[in-house]
């Protein structure tokens, strides 16, 4: 797992966060995205982290993706990871209604509470569309929720990899459309405390294309 050791160049670094109930397939979705793989995963402990380099909008991007545990007992932990995320992926399982309702009742509130980023892009993802016969949450409901909450929406399947790439791509393109987020993600902001004296980085970097 992990990224290659020789670091590719990149223009922007974005931090993405995945949230949602336990068992909706956050980790599977991430695995499917990063390594085109699908397997049965045990519940995530705490948080997982993956890096993926992608090209989008003519830019080379480095995505640092935090995959949080959905289990209740780790809920306290998740809250500290919202800070600084440019994109938040909210995942539900189309075959389990409570995972959908929890998004509005639990997760959306968490986002409002903890996210420090006003412009942060949110994306609603309905997973497991491969189980069409078991579906209980309709696409229409998803679209309505997304519209109401002001976020992007997509349905996908980590298993069949339908719409997985698109999911991340749409999110990233939207981030690239938001100047304030680009400013945060540009390389100039990067500070390495061990090499410099860590001057307080100036948020305004020459990044407007």
């Amino acid at each position: 797992m992990g990224s290659s050791s020789n670091q590719p160049e990149f223009d922007y670094l974005f931090k993405l966060l995945m949230i949602g109930d336990s068992g909706v397939g956050k980790s599977s979705l991430l695995l499917s995205f990063t390594s085109d793989d699908f397997e049965d995963l045990s519940p995530t402990i705490g948080v997982d982290f993956k890096v993926k380099y992608v090209d989008a909008g003519g830019k080379k991007l480095k995505l640092a993706i935090w995959d949080t545990a959905g289990q209740e007992r780790f809920r306290t932990l998740t809250s500290s990871y919202y800070r600084g995320a440019q994109g938040i992926i909210m995942v539900y399982d189309v075959t389990r209604r409570e995972t959908f309702t929890n998004l509005s009742e639990v997760w959306a509130k968490e986002v409002d509470l903890y996210s420090t980023n006003q412009d942060c892009i949110k994306m609603l993802v309905g997973n497991k569309v491969d189980k069409e016969s078991d579906r209980v949450v309709t696409k229409k409901e998803g679209i309505n929720f997304a519209r109401e909450y002001g976020c992007l929406f997509i349905e996908c399947s980590a298993k069949t990899r339908v719409n997985v790439q698109q999911c991340f791509e749409e999110l990233v393109l939207k981030i690239l459309d938001t100047p304030s987020l680009i400013a945060e993600g540009s390389k100039g902001v990067k500070k390495n405390i061990f090499k410099e004296k860590a001057p307080q980085p100036d948020a305004s970097t020459s990044s407007c294309c």
Binding site: M1, G2, S3, S5, Q7, L13, F14, K15, S42, T44, I45, G46, V47, D48, F49, K50, V51, A64, W66, D67, R73, F74, T76, L77, S79, S80, Y81, R83, G84, A85, Q86, T116, N117, E184, G185, V189, K190, K191, N192, I193, F194, K197, A198, P199, Q200, P201, A203
Partner: protein
């Protein structure tokens, strides 16, 4: 094995995470000491959203939390944290403003223990009581500190009578009295002021800490320390860390963690002793078993489990003493017998269970062998090796044990180096008054040369010429001129020729002794335990050269935990202080005296233009500069005032402390 572990899987996860966070913060504090300049104070940091912009930990092998450092993963493994979670933990630890995660993990740690909770609570209770008792008996041991103080006072007096005529008299008798008073008040008043300072500086979410019970905190520290020592990392070939045992960086991280937890460091030292003793017991057990028979592994497991029972046996009597052949600290034996009536044989107090778990994780008994190797069970490594061979032209290089803490399972070593001596006993006596829980050694080196140069300097000081200059107040202003190198009083120049050749030799020897010291540390004669190095005058130079030499090797800050240099004859601009700083995991202190003109004279003007550590602050991030001008009237003051400086530094606190001003209104 799950039943023997003290923590639930979730708690273990949180403990591992906190340790990782502490480790990373410790590395940050190497160059950005806590409380001094903290540009990203997390409480006011809400506007700063750039936290995401650091690179991933996995791409920066220089980080302590990176897997190549071999510091974190063995601990995770010992804690039986699923390997799936390691990556996330490392990244979490490495995020630039990790402090905000601390509260969340503390909350996770406070979680109820689940189905086995009553058993675990009992274990926690037993463990924390044992720690308390051990800590208390350690305190009792140190009751003798008063007599030590007396001795120091005596020594100070002797020294003053012998040498300080020239220097001190110019400073008037009143000064003398003042200093003595200071000695009194400083040592005892300090404690209270400290705590206010501490709570201000630790900048931690206090609410979460209070959610944690004291017992839980002690248990976590205990388990983490066991994890650091057990070292099950044999299979990681990429690992840069060659050394087994207690890494200095581990100890610094634990120190920070204890600060977060608001647990006194003496408790942590008690935990160290307990872990050390139980580990030694286990290792002994394992050895004898292996010699006896080569049974199928299943039988071995039964034996290992029996290892877990050792603790229980110890509660009932002196079994532990028997097993360790008297190596176990009297402190722990006393502590355990005190425990017996309250707890009986209910629980294995000593965390042998933890070690059994480690062995199971490693799948071999190698885990425990590493434990034994890690602190050189006999502890005779340093004193046992007088200099077997002569290196370069160093004629004398020898460690002498001082203090009472030898062979008592202390997990940290202190090496004290004198550098301005008139007598062989000056290698030992300046350090005798110190009162800490480290295994302490003094380094006696090149006494002939050192005595020669010290005496030459002293003679010159007492000569008519110097006295004459002193009367004219020349000396007190000389130093400022020296530093700017504008003018050298001619008389002074002539006078120093007299000292020069001897000084040159001594400096050369100190550089070589430094290399030798580095070799000793590299070869692990201190038993792979973290080392604290303290030295004054040329002794400080020895230490600095040692660090430089370590920096040239592949070494990281794994050996040296803390460094204190006093009145160091080291150029500031000519030397690579950054490299030396990197070799020290914890605090790095430079104590200087602006009035130490003698050091300036000996060091010569040409070098002074480049700055001199012993009389000036060093402008390198991460080095604590401490002005001891008030305590040090002249260079020979270091002989007796070093102790005082060390007291005020409070080396056992994590963050920079120096309280020279407390008692002066």
């Amino acid at each position: 094995m799950a039943t023997t572990s003290y923590l639930t899987p979730t708690q273990s996860y949180a403990a591992g995470a906190l340790f990782g966070l502490a480790l990373h913060q410790a590395q940050i504090h190497q160059t950005h000491p806590l409380g001094l300049d903290d540009p990203t104070d997390d409480r006011t940091e809400t506007s700063d959203s750039s936290s995401s912009s650091n690179d991933a930990v996995s791409e920066d092998p220089g980080l302590w939390v990176h897997q190549n450092s071999g510091l974190l993963r063995p601990v995770f493994k010992f804690l039986e944290i699923s390997s799936n979670a390691w990556y996330g933990l490392e990244e979490t630890a490495g995020t630039s403003s990790a402090n905000r995660h601390v509260g969340a993990f503390l909350r996770l740690l406070a979680e109820e223990s689940g189905e086995n909770s009553s058993q675990r609570e009992d274990q926690e209770l037993a463990l924390s009581t044992a720690v308390d008792v051990t800590a208390r008996s350690m305190d009792e041991d140190s009751e003798s500190s008063k007599s030590k103080r007396e001795k120091l006072r005596e020594y100070e007096h002797e020294c003053r009578e012998k040498f300080s005529t020239a220097e001190v008299q110019s400073n008037l008798e009143a000064e003398d009295v003042h200093l003595l008073q200071e000695t009194d008040s400083n040592t005892f008043e300090i404690k209270d002021a400290d705590h206010a300072l501490m709570s201000k500086m630790t900048e931690k979410p206090i609410e979460e800490v209070t959610m944690l019970s004291y017992r839980r905190k002690v248990t976590v520290l205990y388990v983490l320390l066991s994890a650091c020592l057990a070292d099950t990392s044999d299979d990681n070939k990429k690992c840069n860390r060659q050394r087994k045992g207690y890494d200095a960086r581990h100890r610094v991280a634990l120190r920070l963690l204890a600060t977060w937890f608001d647990i006194k460091w003496t408790k942590m030292e008690a935990i160290e002793i307990m872990v050390a003793c139980s580990a030694m017991a286990l290792a002994k057990e394992g050895e004898s078993k292996r010699e006896e028979e080569k049974q199928p592994s299943k039988n071995k497991w039964a034996k290992w489990k029996r290892g877990g029972i050792i603790g229980a046996a110890a509660v009932t009597g002196g079994a532990l003493m028997a097993i360790t052949g008297g190596l176990a600290a009297p402190a722990i034996a006393a502590g355990l017998s005190a425990l017996a009536p309250t707890l009986g044989t209910l629980i294995p107090v000593i965390g042998a269970g933890g070690f059994a778990a480690a062995a199971s994780a490693a799948g071999t008994v190698a885990g425990s062998v590493a434990v034994a190797a890690s602190f050189g069970a006999a502890g005779a490594g340093l004193t046992g090796t007088k200099m077997a061979r002569r290196v370069g032209s160093v004629d004398e290089f020898e460690f002498k044990a001082i203090g009472e803490n030898h062979n008592q399972g202390r997990l940290a070593v202190e090496i004290l180096v004198s550098g301005f001596v008139f007598d062989e006993e000056d290698f030992v006596r300046p350090w005798e008054g110190q009162n800490d829980n480290l295994e302490r050694y003094v380094l006696q080196w090149e006494s002939k040369n050192l005595i020669a140069v010290s005496t030459a300097i002293q003679d010159w000081l007492t000569s008519g010429l110097a006295l004459q200059m002193m009367k004219q107040g020349a000396m007190l202003t000389v130093l400022s001129t020296l530093v700017t190198a504008l003018a050298w009083p001619a008389a002074l120049l002539a006078a120093t020729d007299f000292i020069d050749s001897k000084w040159t030799i001594a400096v050369d020897r100190s550089d070589k002794a430094g290399k030798l010291l580095a070799e000793v540390l590299l070869s692990g004669l201190q038993g792979n335990r973290p080392v604290t190095l303290v030295g004054y005058s040329l002794g400080a130079r020895v230490i600095f050269k040692c660090l430089q030499f370590l920096a040239e090797t592949e070494c990281d800050a794994e050996l040296v935990e803390r460094v204190v240099l006093l009145g160091a004859p080291i150029s500031i601009n000519d030397e690579n202080w950054e490299a030396a700083r990197k070799m020290v995991a914890g605090r790095f202190v430079n104590a200087y005296s602006k009035n130490d003109w003698m050091l300036g004279v000996a060091f010569r003007a040409s070098l002074l233009t480049q700055g001199l550590a012993g009389i000036q602050p060093i402008n390198i991030p991460g080095i604590e500069n401490v002005d001891v001008t008030d305590l040090i009237e002249g260079h020979s003051s270091y002989l007796w005032a070093t102790q005082l400086v060390l007291d005020q530094l409070e080396l056992d606190t994590y963050y920079p402390v120096f309280r020279s001003t407390t008692c002066k209104q």
